[in-house]
């Protein structure tokens, strides 16, 4: 598998003992990395392991506190993204940053357009050069089409074409496949192989382990900002890699209790929201954790929002304990016993500048009222109660939530909703961007809630989390429910196949 030849032993780009801190958080500690031409190098690690910081250091966005960036063996200092680009380093982000109003050709050549006399842009040459790049990548995109409305996959192709246009020697791909369908991934991998054969060094980041094994030769693993290992993938198993990433066995991370499912608590029938999701039907029973899997943009969050009443639905119905919910009425859904822990806790789940106690108290405003006025004492004791139950780590309950770590913020959101005593709890990406320890705690909590008879619907893009926690897995693809898989039958393959629409629906 290893393509590194003895004739070309020098890394084109290397990091040596890099450290970087943000305030009190040490994002990277003495991390080293070497990228060789003609090699696809995987960067593995959990969310929050420091992958993004490492990429941004390579891309010249962050300047390291300590350590060196070596370009062709020479210590280099990038003052900004332009320096890194001039050095031949290109980054393709999961959500590419294009100019939506400009054409594909302009997006690729912005700032470096071919010129005619008097410094004028040569539009014809730009068009031709773009066509040539598209041909080299083996894709068909109209150079004059505006970037607005391109699919994520096509946007990434534009980014790669841009990288090629300035002869990038190092290509960094940050979770490029997260939002792609199966055929789009295949096309992307074809492009990556072509680039590798042409001698580029590629750093590839993905949460899908099978992709790492499919396309990479070398892997570097980070955990909590520290380098765990850097080794050839040859002879490694997925289990080896997971152990390096997680630092413990998976059972511990997913403490799922076996619970006998009770009667149906939440019933969704043929729910449709025009152009967003279509004909979605499912049940969630008491004591059950139902996982809702799918790719980013498949419509999972939108279904949850509609069920809770934040968005209206166009057709179908939602029943909670046999009672129909009104379309577009979140307060009614709450009163009926439904709780929704949203995907983006900073924007939707919390008032960041408000104290912990008041954030938890927000859902109980009506219950903690005495003679028409807020009973601050009752609010505080209720909040303290839940903060302790969920082991939120804080200095004082009156501190604002933006002083907390991501994991503890997530616990505050959970506390806020659990305080309403829900019968059905919908959690959207409950552990995104939080550290492994807190993640395990959140999982234990969800498992305990189910054991206590709460019906839990868990939306997650984290496949191991879905497989580890869910009694049943529902899979969405492009706005439709494409599969329902029992815990015993659920594997990465079956879920991904349904999520990417490869399964015969």
């Amino acid at each position: 598998m290893t393509h590194r030849s003895d004739a070309d032993p020098a890394p084109v780009l290397a990091l040596k003992d890099i450290s970087k801190s943000f305030g009190a958080v040490r994002a990277l500690r003495d991390v080293s990395l070497e990228l060789f031409p003609g090699e696809v190098h995987a960067l593995a690690g959990e969310n929050g392991a420091g992958k993004s910081t490492l990429i941004k250091t390579l891309a010249g966005v962050h300047r390291p506190d300590a350590g060196q960036v070596l370009l062709d063996g020479e210590p280099t200092l990038f003052h900004g993204p332009a320096d890194a680009r001039d050095a031949g380093i290109a980054v393709i982000y999961q959500e590419p940053t294009l100019f939506p109003d400009l054409s594909i050709a302009e997006n690729i050549f912005m700032g470096r357009q071919p010129r005619r006399a008097l410094g004028r842009i040569d539009h014809k040459a730009t068009h031709a050069a773009t066509l040539a790049l598209m041909k080299r990548l083996g894709v068909e995109l109209d150079p004059d089409r505006p970037a607005r409305g391109l699919s994520i996959a096509d946007q990434q192709i534009v980014e790669i074409a841009k990288a090629l246009s300035f002869d990038a020697r190092v290509l960094i791909m940050d979770e490029p496949t997260a939002a792609l369908t199966g055929s789009e991934v295949a096309r992307l991998f074809g492009v990556v192989r072509t680039l590798r054969e042409q001698g580029s060094a590629v750093l590839f980041i993905s949460h899908r382990l099978e992709e790492i094994f499919q396309i990479c030769q070398q892997v570097t693993t980070l955990r909590d900002g520290a380098l765990i290992s850097s080794e050839p993938l040859d002879g490694m198993t997925e289990e080896d890699l997971v152990r390096r990433m997680v630092g413990r066995d998976l059972d511990e991370l997913y403490p799922k209790q076996d619970v006998r499912a009770g009667e149906v608590a939440l019933s969704v029938r043929r729910l449709t929201r025009e152009g967003v999701f279509t004909d979605v039907s499912f049940d969630v029973r008491r004591g059950e954790i139902v996982g809702l899997a799918g790719l980013v943009g498949a419509g999972r969050t939108e279904v949850a929002r509609a069920v809770f009443g934040v968005d209206r639905w166009d057709a179908g119905e939602v029943e909670l304990d046999g009672k129909k919910l009104t379309n577009g009425a979140p307060s009614m859904a709450m009163a009926a016993g439904l709780a929704l822990v949203p995907e983006d806790r900073r924007a939707q789940g919390l008032v960041m500048d408000m104290s912990i106690e008041r954030n938890i108290g927000l859902t109980g405003l009506r219950k903690t009222v005495r003679a028409g006025l807020m009973d601050r004492g009752a609010e505080r004791s209720r909040s303290l109660d839940w903060a302790v139950k969920l082991q939120v780590k804080y200095a004082r309950i009156a501190d604002t939530v933006n002083t907390l770590s991501g994991g503890n913020q997530q616990k505050v959101v959970l506390a806020k909703w659990l305080a309403t005593g829900p019968k059905v709890l919908i959690v959207d990406e409950p552990t995104r961007g939080i550290d492994v320890g807190t993640k395990a705690e959140v999982h234990r909590l969800l498992s305990q809630l189910a054991a206590d008879g709460v019906a839990v619907l868990m939306i997650s893009s984290d496949l191991p989390e879905i497989l580890g926690m869910a009694d049943r897995v529902l899979v969405m693809h492009e706005g439709r429910l494409t599969a329902e898989i029992a815990r015993t039958d659920a594997t990465e393959e079956t879920v991904m196949a349904a999520a990417t629409g490869r399964a015969a629906a």
């Binding site: 939506p100 607005r148 409305g149 629906a505």
Partner: protein, 346 residues
């Protein structure tokens, strides 16, 4: 594995690559639509009042539009970068007075125009520096400079007034003269307009203004000197406001401390009606110029049709909201069309 979605409805039929053509057509048509509205309005007025399109009538129409076209051209550059310059009215006023004072003292006409432009450049530089370095919203910064420049103007001018009698005859003649129905001032505005449009389309730094208005973060990542470009846009906008001040003096021969008061809102209206998107990245100076022509023509059309001029402001307002509403609806429709297309291809 069980399947819970048994009968998928067929996806809506959208012809291949309709997204591309639709988007293209919409942006090309935006200018055409304004031109059409303008022409229809002129034709209706001509039918209602046959004197409307006399040589003098056409000349007035063009003269009235000239100054607004100039300032709107400058403003477009700033709006394209996702900023705004509210101080153009004040800049116009103070430049006009400066040029007038100099001419009253027996100065040379060309030097007076250069003086006005330089003063405008000065104001533009201040705005540009504050916006690009201060990282403060342009709306607030230029609202501040609007009052500061107006304040300085008021203190300096006091109750004084510049009248045509104090200005050189050649200067005033130039302001009202022209080649048959086309005034010299309109020719200057047209020259500036065409040059600016050419620059925006054919020069790298011009395209970069669109890029940084379209996605500032991506512009930064692409290594575009964002601050420098914003500074340049404001400086250019200031220069044109200064030039407009000199032309205002030539046209009306009358300047006091209130000259150009409230003009910034007319300018912004013209730009937005002309299809320059207020959130940056899209639109053309030709559109803005047509917007300016449309708004100023209403001033002439209503009296010609015997409608009270008190309606002018209300109609301007309606046009503005209509323009924004049309843009919004078109944007939504395009987005839906593209989404459907992508869904089919995905």
């Amino acid at each position: 594995m069980t399947v819970t979605a048994p009968n998928p409805a067929p996806a809506a039929e959208v012809p291949k690559s309709s997204g591309t053509r639709l988007v293209d057509r919409v942006f090309k048509m935006r200018e055409l639509a304004i031109l059409l509205v303008f022409l229809v309005m002129i034709v209706i007025t001509q039918i209602g009042n046959s004197d409307f399109l006399s040589e003098q009538g056409i000349k007035d129409l063009l003269l009235n539009a000239t100054i607004l076209v100039l300032v709107a051209t400058g403003q477009s550059l700033v709006v394209i970068t996702r900023n705004v310059d509210l101080s153009v009215g004040s800049t116009l006023g103070i430049s006009a007075f400066a040029a007038g004072t100099y001419l009253e003292g027996g100065g040379n006409s060309v030097v007076a125009v250069i003086l006005a432009v330089l003063l405008g450049i000065g104001c533009g530089l201040v705005n540009g520096l504050l916006v690009s370095l201060g990282q403060v919203p342009a709306l607030v910064v230029t609202l501040g400079t609007l009052y500061i420049i107006r304040g300085i103007d008021s203190i300096w001018v006091g109750s004084r007034q510049i009248t045509a009698a104090g200005l050189p005859d050649g200067f005033i003649d130039f302001g009202s003269g022209g080649i048959s129905a086309v005034p010299y001032l309109a020719l200057i505005a047209l020259l500036v307009l065409v040059a600016t449009a050419y620059y925006l389309k054919h020069f790298g730094s011009g395209r970069e203004l669109y890029a940084l208005g379209s996605n500032p973060e991506a512009a930064r990542l692409a290594g575009i000197p964002v601050r420098k470009r914003i500074l340049a846009a404001y400086t250019f906008c200031g220069a044109l406001a200064g030039l407009a001040g000199a032309l205002y003096l030539a046209r009306f021969g009358n300047v006091d401390s209130g000259t150009g008061n409230g003009y910034e809102l007319t300018v912004v209206s013209a730009v937005v009606v002309g299809g320059v998107v207020f959130t940056g990245g899209s639109g053309s100076v030709y559109g803005a110029a047509l917007g300016a022509l449309l708004l100023t023509s209403i001033n002439s059309v209503l009296p010609a049709l015997g409608v009270s001029s008190v309606w002018v402001l209300a109609i301007n307002g309606i046009l503005l909201i209509l323009a924004i509403a049309v843009d919004r609806i078109v944007a939504l429709r395009v987005a839906t069309a593209l989404k459907k297309r992508n869904a089919r291809h995905g």
